[in-house]
């Protein structure tokens, strides 16, 4: 029986699993799994510990290895590393809803984390802030093809004169290509590392993020590999790691492509520091009286909320969800886990606090991921303007991450309704089954999604445990659909 090993070197834990399969199998068989604390100062130690545990577990269980697997070291290994939760990217664009939004989408879909964003012209104060705390990557965008040059030139000058790139940051230019040479020269003259990508917004209504994503991912690999001995692991394994969030994105994409019967779905991956949301759905439903505004949304979309998480970000979650303060004792609990981020809720009361935190993280992250619908009145009657993604027809929401994977019968709370008013509606899923990634196996399977897509997808789906009841978010159904027009149509005939 052939085998494959997947390892994820996270910021807290190094996890690994051995999968076996046979010709004709639809899914992997989990042969062994192991987890050790990440050896932060020298990553190869933790990696070797996990490999040793996996080997020992396989030996003890008498795992049947195939002829080509004479020793454990012959089994192919795929691995990912999160590099402290992902690379920090500062995104620069001109108009917030146009090139800046395109830059944010690009950074997130490359597996990065948005550190800071800047619209229009950088000020000296902005540059000082960047110098004080340089991001890994500065993604500089702006202008359509043949369009604006002024802002990009200004921002390029400001950055090339600063010490940001000398300290740490790498510049990726993905704006108006007319400016590409000038930008390249501006930075190369100072000896700074600069990468030129295709314009991420060649026309106002179109984005093209492929090249920029590729560049960001290769910088990402470069950065994580150089740090803390990971190059040794790369030498042992013989190839580069995936950034962890990118691995999960690949798995989500593979599920969406290979299992159309699964329908539209989302994944909420909640950790101690961030909450990542992935959605797979048609961004705009064809509804006659809905007009779409803004940049086109990707069918597979990832967002990262750096202020929402169970531990490192507990305090900022508490601030982002004001209703948490109404729970007696909650503030004290948040302070406690903020001081000791390894604290695990033990008593029933503490568990209820954790549950409330999880609800706030997932609900708020989902709310931010979702698009909005705004009611307007036109000469021909009521109509709606949509911005962002319409998630209403999503029927499955998957929960992953250390906390959600262990939690039975989790309910995403009804804070989702809070954004709704008489004329503004959040386009969140209206009725869905919640399913947990019960073995917390998604990140490990993500590493295998490129080479074993069908097996990885089926194993991921087999590992889901669905909640018994459907979750219904009232108040969003049918708004903006043809059937809702009967009540309030043509109220403006006298114009």
């Amino acid at each position: 029986m052939p085998h494959v090993i997947s390892i994820d070197i996270g910021s807290t834990y190094t996890k690994g699993a051995v999968f076996g399969w046979q010709e004709g199998d639809k899914a992997f068989r989990l042969a062994a799994r192991a987890v050790v604390p990440t050896t932060v100062n020298y990553l190869p130690d933790g990696y070797r510990q996990v490999m040793a545990s996996l080997e020992e577990l396989c030996r003890r269980s008498g795992e049947p290895f195939s002829e080509t697997e004479a020793s454990f070291a012959d089994i192919p290994v795929y691995f990912s590393s999160s590099a402290k939760g992902g690379l920090n990217i500062a995104a620069l664009g001109i108009v917030p809803a146009l090139t800046l939004k395109a830059a944010k989408l690009t950074a997130l879909s490359a597996g990065g984390r948005i550190d800071r964003v800047y619209a229009y012209k950088l000020t000296r104060r902005d540059v000082a802030a960047l110098e004080a705390n340089p991001p890994d990557i500065i993604l500089l965008a702006g202008g359509t093809e043949g369009g604006n040059e002024v802002y990009v030139r200004h921002n390029g000058k400001m950055l090339s004169k600063s010490s940001v790139l000398a300290q740490r940051s790498v510049l990726v230019y993905a704006g108006n290509s007319v400016m590409a040479e000038e930008i390249e020269e501006m930075f190369a003259a100072k000896g700074f590392e600069v990468h030129i990508a295709d314009n991420i917004m060649p026309e106002v209504d179109r984005t093209d993020t492929v090249k920029a994503r590729e560049i960001i991912r290769s910088i990402f690999l470069d950065r994580i590999v150089k740090g803390r001995g990971l190059d040794t692991v790369v030498k042992e394994i013989g190839h580069n790691p995936n950034p962890t969030p990118y691995a999960v994105l690949r798995l989500v994409e593979a599920i969406y492509l290979k299992r159309p019967e699964m329908g539209e779905f989302m994944l909420i991956d909640m950790g101690g520091a961030t909450t990542d949301v992935y959605s797979c759905c048609q961004p705009v439903k064809s509804i006659e009286n809905v007009m779409f505004r803004g940049l086109p949304e990707p069918e597979v979309k990832r967002t990262v909320e750096g202020d929402l998480g169970m531990r490192v970000s507990a305090l900022s979650t508490f601030k982002a969800a004001p209703y948490l303060a109404e729970i007696p004792g909650m503030a004290e609990f948040v302070e406690k886990v903020d001081r000791d981020t390894s604290h695990i809720g033990v008593s029933e009361t503490e568990k209820s606090y954790d549950l409330a935190l999880a609800g706030a993280c997932s609900g708020e992250a989902l709310r931010r991921h979702a698009g909005k619908l705004r009611r307007v009145f036109t000469a021909v009657g009521e109509a709606f303007v949509q911005e962002g993604k319409d998630l209403r027809e999503i029927r499955t929401v998957i929960g992953s991450g250390g906390f959600l994977s262990r939690l039975h019968n989790f309910q995403i709370p009804d804070i989702l309704k809070r954004g709704n008013t008489a004329d503004n509606f959040l386009l969140v899923p209206e009725r869905f089954r919640y399913a947990r990634d019960k073995d917390y196996i998604f990140p490990l399977l993500g590493n295998l999604a490129d080479n074993y897509p069908l097996l990885a997808v089926q194993t991921a789906l087999d590992g889901l445990e669905y909640s018994e009841n459907e979750t219904v978010i009232p108040g969003v159904e049918n708004i903006g659909r043809s059937s809702s027009r009967s009540g309030a149509s043509c109220s403006c005939r006298d114009v």
Binding site: T144, N148, N176, T378, A379, V385
Partner: protein
């Protein structure tokens, strides 16, 4: 698209969105042409990008947007942002017509459109001679011509 070879500043004119009120457009074209402007008239049912395309190609100093069917607010929002991304951040934007539905106070409408980045906002009652004077003055102030 029709242009005339005159020496005055170039402006782009058209009725935005799905609006096909052609008569007013023909009148504006004539009045502004006679006032010495080089008018690039895009006619009716003009999209935001069509205005910008024409303005870039002709190095226009102003875009004059008309909207008569009450849906102006929807059609007009985002035009300034598009102008910026496409490199004509300093172009003058004028808008006029029946911009909103119902009897809404003009000051309120003006404030709304100015917030959207329009430099001047007019009603159907605006005196075209006044508009022409303002347009010459604004062009002179912004471009020194």
């Amino acid at each position: 698209m029709s242009t005339e070879n005159v020496s005055g500043p170039t402006i782009v004119l058209g009725v935005i969105g799905s609006d096909c009120h052609a008569v007013g457009n023909a009148i504006l074209y004539r009045v502004f042409s006679e006032a010495g402007f080089n008018v690039v008239n895009l006619g009716v049912m003009v999209s935001q990008d069509e205005y910008i395309d024409a303005a870039i190609e002709t190095n226009a100093k102003a875009i004059l947007v008309s909207s008569l069917y009450g849906q102006g607010e929807l059609d007009c929002e985002g035009l300034r942002e598009r102008c910026i991304e496409r490199g004509i951040d300093d172009i003058l934007l004028y808008v006029g017509g029946n911009l909103v539905i119902g009897k809404v106070d003009y000051a309120q409408t003006e404030a709304k459109f100015k917030k959207m980045g329009y430099d001047r906002v007019f009603t159907p009652e605006s005196d075209l001679n006044e508009v022409i004077k303002l347009l010459y003055a604004d062009i002179k102030e912004r471009f020194g011509e």
